[in-house]
């Protein structure tokens, strides 16, 4: 009886492990900071790559800003924080890349309208291999 239970458990675990992951790119938890018309803001999110190949974000677009660029904030050797424009941001196969304050972010330059807490706008991310994804981004104080 005990043996049977152990076997059943092992079978269940094996099945759970074999559960196929959706082979795709998923973007979750998008948000952006409030900012005034004409000012700049930044959008953040988490990208998960469920495919078996590395992929990369190569471009972002939104009609909420005059220009949209991908940047990385990082500490320079001189101790100053700097922003470096990114041509692409890799999302490793089976892994994730987090866009977050003080790191990767989508820079929204020259906002066409004020972004107030509770507002939303759309942002489209373009990938090297996968299809583009359009997100609804809520404006939040975080």
């Amino acid at each position: 009886m005990k043996k049977f239970v152990v076997m059943l458990l092992a079978l269940a675990l094996t099945l759970a492990a074999c559960q196929p992951q959706p082979a795709q790119i998923t973007v979750s938890d998008p948000w952006a900071r409030p900012a005034g018309e004409g000012e700049n803001s930044a959008a953040f999110f988490v990208i998960q790559n469920g495919t078996s190949q590395d992929d990369a974000v190569v471009r972002a677009e939104s009609d909420v800003a005059a220009a949209v660029e991908i940047h990385l904030s990082k500490m320079g050797e001189n101790g100053a924080m700097q922003m470096i424009r990114q041509d692409k941001v890799v999302v490793p196969a089976g892994g994730e890349t987090v866009f977050k304050p003080g790191s990767y972010h989508v820079m929204l330059i020259g906002l066409q309208r004020e972004l107030k807490e509770g507002d939303t706008f759309t942002l489209t991310l373009y990938f090297e291999k996968s299809d583009p994804q359009t997100l609804t981004v809520p404006v939040e104080q975080r």
Partner: protein
């Protein structure tokens, strides 16, 4: 014989515990941030505010001041710090007015007094945003060891300003006590700010 040995041990353990407690009590609480030893009077800052009054750092005595240097074109690092200070101030409740956040420009060419005050007010209307001419700001940057460097990266945002992104904490008596590096967790920031808020004016 055995009892005497036991009593000796008990006395010893109690003694050590009392001594450790006394040490812990007399030692001032430790900052997570980078403490200035010894603390120095914070260099004076005199700048015009958006409503035409003169801001003097020395007039903030009695409050704890969190000072940050940044610029309004900055979409990530400056807002990240201001958002954390906003949250900490919001949690202080009735004591919130004892914490004054001051944001000073590293980009006098683009930051007008109106623009910088509007920028910080979006986080908290009680924050003070200040700018001036480069001639007015340079001695302040120098006094606080602020590094700034304009770089043209070809971004649609125009030139960017690489800048040191420390938060300076000044106590109620006007002494610069410590700095918090960018990336310090909000819990550690709160911890150090609360230590300064608990101190009384001498």
């Amino acid at each position: 014989m055995r009892a005497r040995w036991l009593w000796g041990l008990v006395t010893f353990v109690v003694g050590v515990a009392v001594f450790a407690g006394w040490l812990a009590l007399r030692r001032p609480p430790e900052f997570v941030g980078v403490a200035l030893e010894p603390p120095l009077p914070a260099p004076e800052i005199v700048l015009q505010t958006v409503d035409g009054t003169t801001f003097r750092l020395t007039e903030q005595r009695g409050k704890v001041v969190a000072l940050f240097f940044g610029y309004t074109t900055c979409p990530d690092v400056c807002p990240a710090t201001l958002a954390e200070l906003r949250q900490i101030r919001a949690e202080l409740g009735a004591q919130a007015d004892d914490l004054q956040v001051v944001f000073i420009s590293v980009d006098p060419q683009r930051d007008t007094p109106e623009r910088i005050q509007e920028y910080v007010s979006r986080f908290d209307p009680a924050f003070i945003g200040l700018t001036g001419s480069e001639a007015e700001l340079q001695p302040i940057w120098d006094a606080y060891g602020v590094f700034r460097e304009e770089v043209d990266t070809g971004s649609a945002a125009g030139y960017l300003v690489n800048h040191s992104a420390r938060t300076y904490l000044i106590d109620r008596s006007g002494y610069l006590r410590l700095t918090l590096n960018f990336g310090t967790s909000i819990n550690d920031m709160r911890h150090d700010i609360l230590i300064l808020l608990k101190e009384k004016m001498p």
